[in-house]
Symmetry: C2
Subunit: 153 residues, 2 copies
DNA sequence: CTGTATTAGTTTCAAATGTAACTATTATGA
DNA sequence: TCATAATAGTTACATTTGAAACTAATACAG
């Protein structure tokens, strides 16, 4: 088999393209809530997880939103200091603690969710309904495959 | 119009999904060259830009690979210290300087490119040829649209 | 010309992040 | 039962990153 001369054009290189797209989208969204609510991306993600699925332990949160335990711990510390999240030590296993939003946290969560969904909807305006499904399917498969490759290596 | 109760499930939220996918892919790739060649992601990106398009000024590099000038400056400083990149001040405008790979840099670049392309190819194995085109098209349109939204805001 | 604005790029300082070590608690196995 | 291992989460330290201030050179307006 003849191997063509290989060239790498970063602009067409999938890992690079995904990275640039994700960064743009993530920053745009962050701009929408960071100023008003003073949350970092990890803090917002933790709140989103708790807003939907509380009570969760810190590990649960980490698993759910693919964030390592140090990042979760730090985000939670910041959120607790601001009275947005509360913690209750599990009496059966005192290493663990359930986390949840406080009323104040729930209020903030309820304010941010529509902003986030509105941004997502605006983003999706670029695509037809079919294309949205297609994109999500392709992303899912890519993600699963990338995880596979990573575990093999 | 009836507005349904809004809920946000991070796992299905496009900005979040893109971010997690891009991070996984980016880290997987980084693992393939970081150890052996000791490059950070920004350093590798600068080398990739120069390997393909040198000579470029630092600003050119930044525009091409969507990296701010501080990041470019730092990546270049590191690469020059290791003798992978060289700089030549533009005599007509002494604020500028052309950047290019040294022979050593070209050698390293030539070793990394096949690794990167191989990873991309493996990643693409998850998709058919058609799906690859589709994905790229959808990403392009999302990116363009996200930039538009950002500039409006 | 000449003072002001722009542009290219670097440096500085603070904040964010990653890795590894650490504490506290529970599980396990000889 | 008691020593060892494993788990949940935090802390400490080094590195990276980001924002703003800064230097140096050029452009431009009066």
């Amino acid at each position: 088999m003849i191997v063509p001369a290989q060239a790498l054009e970063l602009e067409k290189f999938l890992p690079y393209r995904l990275s640039v797209l994700a960064q743009l989208v993530s920053e745009s969204l962050h701009d929408l809530y960071a100023g008003r609510f003073g949350l970092s991306v990890p803090q917002w993600r933790v709140m989103a997880a708790l807003g939907r699925f509380a009570p969760l332990t810190a590990s649960d949160v980490g698993q759910r939103i693919v964030m390592d335990k140090v990042a979760v711990s730090r985000a939670v510390a910041g959120l607790m200091k601001r009275g947005l999240v509360e913690r209750a030590t599990d009496l059966d296993d005192r290493r663990r603690a359930s986390l949840g939003l406080t009323p104040k946290g729930r209020t903030m969560h309820a304010q941010i969710v529509p902003i986030a969904l509105k941004y997502e909807a605006e983003l999706y305006d670029a695509l037809s309904a079919d294309e949205r499904l297609t994109l999500n399917g392709l992303c899912d498969r890519l993600f699963a495959h990338a995880k596979l490759l990573r575990n093999q290596a």
